[in-house]
Symmetry: C2
Subunit: 407 residues, 2 copies
């Protein structure tokens, strides 16, 4: 052992590991906003922080059966909330997608192509790759809207069937995408899929927990969600919602048997490797946040988040050259602005592309991508109106400092 305690202690001291910015700064990083803990979750986090903390309460060897705390009830409430037959927990939304694809593959072993939208997240690619699937894309309409041409799912399905003799394994639609925050009307795709017998996976990493989402009304066979991205959980925790049709496959149980001991574990779920890795804080903070998630996703409350984004965008676009990319009006407040004037400033700035992030940081706002000045990708989700005003004023202030024209 060459590691020295005193030396190692210094290297991993709480001052070194400190999340310095969080007390003082407003964080507008798009993947951060929906995962901010609610006060209820913060309280619970400390109590359940120990590893495996919830497993004490597991009397039947199945996380879904824990009665106290009421995990079993929570699963029912969560299913109701998401408008889906049932849910299982996974370690992440990407894991939920990976499992959904594997499950469908069991049902349709001859289908090898996943049809995705052009705005799909990288983890959709990785989940498909794990399952040895090819991906085919449904296009978006390009600059500046990048709106997915949802009706084209029909021709793409037909094209795949014509070319390969098989339907695509599934269609996957990103409900709200990571790049432009575009919101997609899932019913358009589900109507197409239903007619052709193609299962629909709806990736709701950004939408479940921030927008009203009902899988049944939207016609999704599978719905994937992220506790740490959008549901106020410390995470990691993903949710895989599924329709009754796939229950037997998703909940299939272990059949392997030890040849000497005869040991079998027939109550353990294969796709969860027994239990998903959400054993304590991830699940408990999700449960603690849940009532607030239910409240904030009511249409009248979710709408306000779109309005905050619109306020910011309207003012941002007063600055010369700034233009929002994506569809309007904003349903989800993930905002992508092109900022050519900032890019020009960066060319001659001693800090180059980093200047923009640093200007924001010096004004108490963090979460901008480092080194990038030609665009600004942020989210106003869950900011107070005061914070939205301050963010807006800060952007205008930086523009003024560099003598940009403001209308």
């Amino acid at each position: 052992m060459v590691l020295n305690f005193e030396e190692i202690k210094k290297r991993y001291d709480s001052k070194v590991l400190s999340r310095r910015n969080e007390d003082l700064y407003i964080n507008v990083q798009p993947i951060q906003r929906g995962g901010v803990l609610t006060p209820a979750a913060q309280k619970i986090l400390v109590e359940w922080g120990d590893g495996y903390s919830i497993c004490d309460n597991c009397l039947k060897g199945d996380i879904r059966s824990i009665e106290n705390p009421p995990v079993n009830e929570f699963i029912k409430d969560l299913s109701k909330f998401m408008g889906i037959y049932d849910v299982v927990f996974t370690e992440s939304c990407r894991r939920a997608k990976q499992i959904a694809m594997a499950v469908i593959k069991e049902k349709f072993p001859d289908r090898n192509i996943l049809l995705i939208d052009a705005n799909a997240h990288y983890s959709t690619f990785l989940a498909a790759e794990w399952n040895n699937l090819e991906v085919k894309e449904v296009p978006n309409n390009g600059y500046p809207e990048f709106r997915v041409e949802l009706e084209k799912y029909a021709e793409k399905i037909d094209e795949i069937e014509d070319k390969t003799g098989n339907l695509p394994l599934a269609a996957l639609l990103t409900h709200v995408d990571y790049s432009y925050g575009n919101f997609n009307e899932a019913q358009i795709v589900s109507n197409i899929c239903k007619k052709r017998g193609v299962p629909l996976i709806l990736n709701c990493a950004y939408s479940v927990g921030t927008l009203p989402v009902n899988a049944n009304e939207l016609g999704a066979d599978f719905i994937t969600a992220s506790g740490h991205k959008s549901m106020g959980s410390s995470g990691p925790i993903g949710i895989l919602g599924f329709s009754e049709e796939y229950e037997d496959i998703i909940t299939k149980r272990s059949k392997l048997k030890g040849d000497i001991t005869g040991k079998t574990f027939g109550h353990k779920l294969c796709y969860m490797l027994g239990c998903p890795g959400v054993y304590g804080a991830p699940l408990m903070t999700l449960m603690a946040s849940f009532p607030y998630i239910v409240e904030r996703t009511k249409p009248e409350n979710a709408k306000i988040e779109g309005e905050k984004a619109e306020y910011f965008i309207k003012n941002a676009e007063r600055i010369e050259g700034i233009k929002m990319l994506g569809t309007r009006p904003k349903v989800y407040p993930l905002i992508n602005l092109e900022t050519p004037a900032f890019e020009k400033i960066a060319e001659n700035h001693p800090r180059k592309g980093f200047f923009l992030r640093e200007e924001f940081k010096s004004r108490g706002i963090v979460g901008m991508a480092p080194g990038i000045s030609k665009k600004l990708e942020i989210s106003t989700y869950g900011l107070t109106w005061e914070q939205v005003y301050y963010l807006t004023d800060t952007l205008l202030d930086i523009a003024r400092k560099y003598n940009l024209k403001i209308n």
Copy 2:
């Protein structure tokens, strides 16, 4: 939406979700002891509790490259600590096993059998099943020691090769098992495996973080560990350590390409689905606990944990019929006692098998399996000597209450 905020709020109130026992009780559940947060980790947990909290600091799209907090340095320190070429994070030790098997399968696609010890954990079965592997067991020597007959890995490998024409995909050895807490001398197995060209996966869910473990010295090709089980992390977080030979496969990167957008994600690791789900609290609490883990696993400190177990066992065996199952002396303090006298009491007790757990609970000790009186499975890991004395006195006190003979 049929969920009502006020109603839901009551159902998931912090009082309902409260982990009631933790302030007042001593928890001796075997899977709980090694995951108790260190004070340093408790401090860090609150700061990094938000979902995705660490991703702000990820400037290169790869969790392994984060410099501040020093994740990149931590990976080097952790590799050194475990005596292995390199490590990747996973969501759990079971996931690490699953990935190790898949990786070896890429190298040896014709091998379909996993050779495991008779004391292997259920998650080893599940990980094998995910990879469509059969399992074959190496026996233990049965009651009362259940010692794995390590030297028999040799004949089992030969037997598999003779029968199937192929070597087993890998040998997996459970370093310390979940049932008896038996510690296995891994070198015996690795010597056998090396001679026959069979990779060795050493499952160290209980040992890395509690005992000195050096994969290189032990001759393991893969080593799997659990942050939430044995390394003072809130988790879930697993660790997969691997030898240089497998680096290219474990770290293979995404190759899928969008047919319309041309999008590729060539920097994302396939087996981690891009990034493993350990994005904030799991990894940060692991890092905060690390110096204390290094300290507690020094031979002179780890030894004391065995001594605490021996003290308890020695006294427990003074009670009529109580007998420890497993090997002596204890290296790891997971203790399995058969308690036939308690089983007899349960027959006529109004609370049946539950009486034993309840007797302990009324004396401030929790973590015993519910409804079971014929055996007692506990761990004294990390208890203070005072707690060990109290636990011992409590067991004797319960025995006295029911007039059992004590030598």
